[in-house]
Amino acid sequence: MISIPLAYWLAYSKSKIKPVIETLVSMPLVLPPTVLGFYLLIAFSPSNSFGQWLDEWLGLQLVFSFEGLVLASVIYSLPFMVHPIQSGLSNLSPSLKEAAYVLGKSRTTTLFKVLLPNIKPSLITGTVLAFAHTIGEFGVVLMIGGNIPGKTKVASITVYDEVESLNYAAANTYSLILFALTFAILLAVYLINGRFTVINE
């Protein structure tokens, strides 16, 4: 939802601040997750004016809560979603968009009826990678969500916990499930995309 407009803007804008936005979107790829988590923690902390504002106006407590965890995951997985969509859009011939405009179609109609249907493989790749990446993350979640059982405890952190308490068998179970799950997801992406390319040829 957030990524489509953002990727659309990045693919077609000639704005001067585009490189800055591009950098910000890509930062989570390079930045240690703990750094990102740390700053989000500070920003959302109720002792800080922004965090206070959120709490008062929207009733949102983002630190150590499930909502905060979701928001942090969105930011952290943004490049995985935005990059495939952006490159998908840039690879489309610009005349497709122009042809739709000349035929009297609005930007929104063009985006949903012409552009997005023609980058399906990118959309699927983006969605699935972002999802899979969210399953696997650790640092950000630990920083902002904490480790509250039943609320912000995620699978990857559970594995860490079990290993810490020398409970290797349980750790192995969780790890194995994660391993199988990610393998299945990625395999599905490659199979589906392979089929799309065959159809398009």
């Binding site: 405009y101 035929l103 009297g104 249907p117």
Partner: protein, 262 residues
């Protein structure tokens, strides 16, 4: 009357260039833009369609103004009554031939025109096919039909036939001419194929570096060049037959194959 007064600084491959043209076109004319690549032909089409904004100028079609820097009018491409056939055809790969045409319909327009167009360009059998599975000539016909669904006043053709081989080219030229006459269009064709221009168009504008250097009827313009121009060549038995246009009249020349210069 269509009035074009366009001025724009363009960044071409071989340096900057100022496109500056001033042209009145009678409605119903089949006009062609001729010139080397980079002379600004495609840019002119894009400005008429509203895909490229002139720095300064006026585009007036009949009584309506599409663009005017003085009074700050700039109609969006969606609002201009043009049909355009792109060099790469720009067919939507996710839609079938039929859907490509239907996509061009406005809500109030009727389905009948689609039927009519499909018959005209003989695409009946290919309705359900996706553009990716069609040949170049077939794709070109779909693009031509699609450009006409909205009954435009001006049809813009950007080197529509350059990627096709001779036989299909000749056939498609006939379609284009037919469409031009049946729908009373003003058609602007970008081409650097002289025989094609002579065959199709009433008026030629010769562009160089963004300026009009010559204009006139196709036959006059090209036959005023020192040699005649080659319109057709074909093999008959062991002879090559060439048809040249000299002073607007065709002249046939036959040369035995073994005497052809390399």
């Amino acid at each position: 009357m269509i009035r074009l007064q366009l001025n724009k600084k363009l960044h071409a491959a071989n340096g900057d260039m100022v496109l500056d043209i001033d042209l009145d076109i009678q409605q119903g004319t089949f006009l062609s833009l001729y010139g080397k690549s980079g002379a600004g032909k495609t840019s002119i089409l894009r400005m008429i369609a509203g895909l490229l904004k002139p720095d300064q100028g006026v585009i007036q079609v009949g009584a309506s103004t599409w663009f005017d820097t003085e009074s700050k009018v700039n109609l969006r491409p969606q609002k201009r009554k043009v049909g355009m056939v792109f060099q790469d055809y720009a067919l939507f790969p996710n839609m079938s031939v039929q859907e490509n045409l239907e996509f061009a319909l406005t809500e109030k327009s009727d389905n009948q025109i689609i039927q009519e167009l499909i018959e005209m360009v003989e695409l009946g059998d290919l309705r359900q096919r996706k553009p990716g599975t069609l040949s170049g000539g077939q794709q070109q016909r779909v693009a031509l039909a699609r450009a006409l669904v909205q009954r435009p006043e001006i049809l813009l053709l950007d080197e529509p036939l350059s990627a096709l081989d001779q036989d299909i080219r000749r056939k498609l030229q006939t379609y284009i001419l037919e469409v031009h006459q049946n729908y009373q269009l003003t058609t602007i064709l970008v081409s650097h194929d002289i025989p094609e221009i002579v065959k199709l168009t009433d008026l030629v504008i010769h562009l160089e570096d963004g300026k009009i250097i010559r204009k006139g009827a196709a036959a006059d313009l090209f036959s005023s060049e020192q040699e005649g121009i080659l319109v057709e060549s074909k093999l008959i038995g062991d002879k090559m037959q060439f048809v040249f246009l000299v002073d607007g009249r065709p002249v046939k020349v036959e040369v035995p194959l073994d005497q052809l210069p390399n």
